[in-house]
């Protein structure tokens, strides 16, 4: 899932303070799971903003909605009939959702309520860690299911660097060395001979280096 963090309330206040009626739009997908922009967070933010503006003696109308997804037209369309009532939208979806909201409702200002961080997992409640960088050319089959692109600070493809100490990365003693994890798992799978094979040069053009990306599937396209 896409992991995001709530923006500090002070920053949100600064963004919306000049409007009179806003819509806070949550998203039922990733940001709900990482507790940054789901229905609950929408309610909390609406309540907090409402109290702030009341305390300032300013009348601010705040409505709440949580869409199934903000990265799909069909769900964004659900609010089309009410959009003209609002001076601005505060979207608690990830950066993808915020942008798609802005594209869909071109004449309404849209502001982000969260900082989108990475694609990752819930290690435990309240702890999320990165697992994928969307490089566009998955090599997990060669690396025992552990990604050196997202989990190695140097994105190394052929074993650890000299900074790997006792299974930890040199940038932080709390960070596992991805290559140590790969070697340990290859050993466990009795496939350590695969470690000896030199990885071919990676085609980085499928990563962000090649500019914004696009996937087109003619077989499913309408």
């Amino acid at each position: 899932m896409i992991v995001a963090e709530k923006k500090p309330i002070e920053e949100v206040i600064e963004m919306v303070k000049d409007f009179r009626k806003i819509l806070i739009a949550g998203c039922n997908e990733c940001v709900t799971v990482c507790e940054a922009g789901g229905k609950k967070e929408v309610a909390i933010l609406a309540s907090a903003l409402s109290m702030y503006f009341m305390n300032q003696g300013k009348k601010m109308e705040i409505d709440e909605v949580t869409l199934e997804r903000q990265c799909d037209h069909e769900y964004l369309e659900e609010i089309r009939n009410t959009m003209d009532q609002y001076d601005a939208v505060l979207s608690l979806a990830c950066g993808v959702g915020v942008q798609f909201m802005a594209e869909t409702y071109f004449s309404t200002p849209v502001y982000p309520g969260v900082n989108t961080c990475f694609m990752g997992v819930t290690e435990e409640r309240g702890v999320w860690t990165e697992r994928c960088q969307g490089c566009g050319e998955c090599i997990l089959g060669r690396t025992a299911g552990i990604c050196p692109i997202s989990r190695c600070a140097k994105r190394l493809l052929n074993g650890p660097c000299g900074g790997s100490t006792k299974g930890k990365c040199e940038i932080s003693k709390d960070l596992d060395c991805a290559w140590q994890l790969i070697i340990d798992r290859l050993k466990e799978l009795d496939r350590l001979d695969e470690y000896e094979q030199i990885a071919p040069i990676k085609d980085w053009s499928t990563e962000r280096a090649g500019g914004p990306r696009r996937v087109v599937r003619e077989d499913v396209r309408q």
Binding site: I9, E10, K40, I44, A48, S50, M51, Y52, M54, N55
Partner: protein
């Protein structure tokens, strides 16, 4: 026991303090409550293992938000006691009431009164 405690307090029963969410606390302030305190079982004694510990964290979250929006985080507090501690319940009620009286009314009420007038 017939203990007395301030009559300004409204008790809202919940099955466990773990049921109390941040939004419940915030809504109370939004509606004009001057203070909110959550009374849970003693830590380590939760029937559901960690309900009261969750409540404590949520009270902390509510405190942070109330500070950020200028209502005052000290208006919310978590207390723990056992069901046999009636006198302590009354003591906490007095303590919280005194604290809130010292802080004065919820600043949001001014806005609400102005709107109503």
């Amino acid at each position: 026991m017939r203990l007395r405690y301030p009559d300004s307090i409204r008790i809202i029963r919940v099955p466990c303090t773990g049921k109390v969410d941040v939004i419940h606390i915030l809504r109370a302030f939004e509606k004009g409550a001057d203070g909110v305190y959550v009374v849970g079982c003693l830590e380590g004694d939760c029937r559901f293992e960690n309900g009261n510990l969750r409540a404590r964290r949520r009270v902390d979250q509510a405190r942070t938000i109330l500070n950020a929006v200028g209502v005052g985080g000290d208006r919310v507090k978590m207390f723990n006691l056992s069901s046999g501690e009636g006198p302590r319940f009354a003591e906490y009620a007095v303590e919280m009431t005194d604290k809130i009286r010292e802080m004065g009314p919820n600043p949001i009420k001014r806005f609400r009164e102005k709107q109503a007038a």
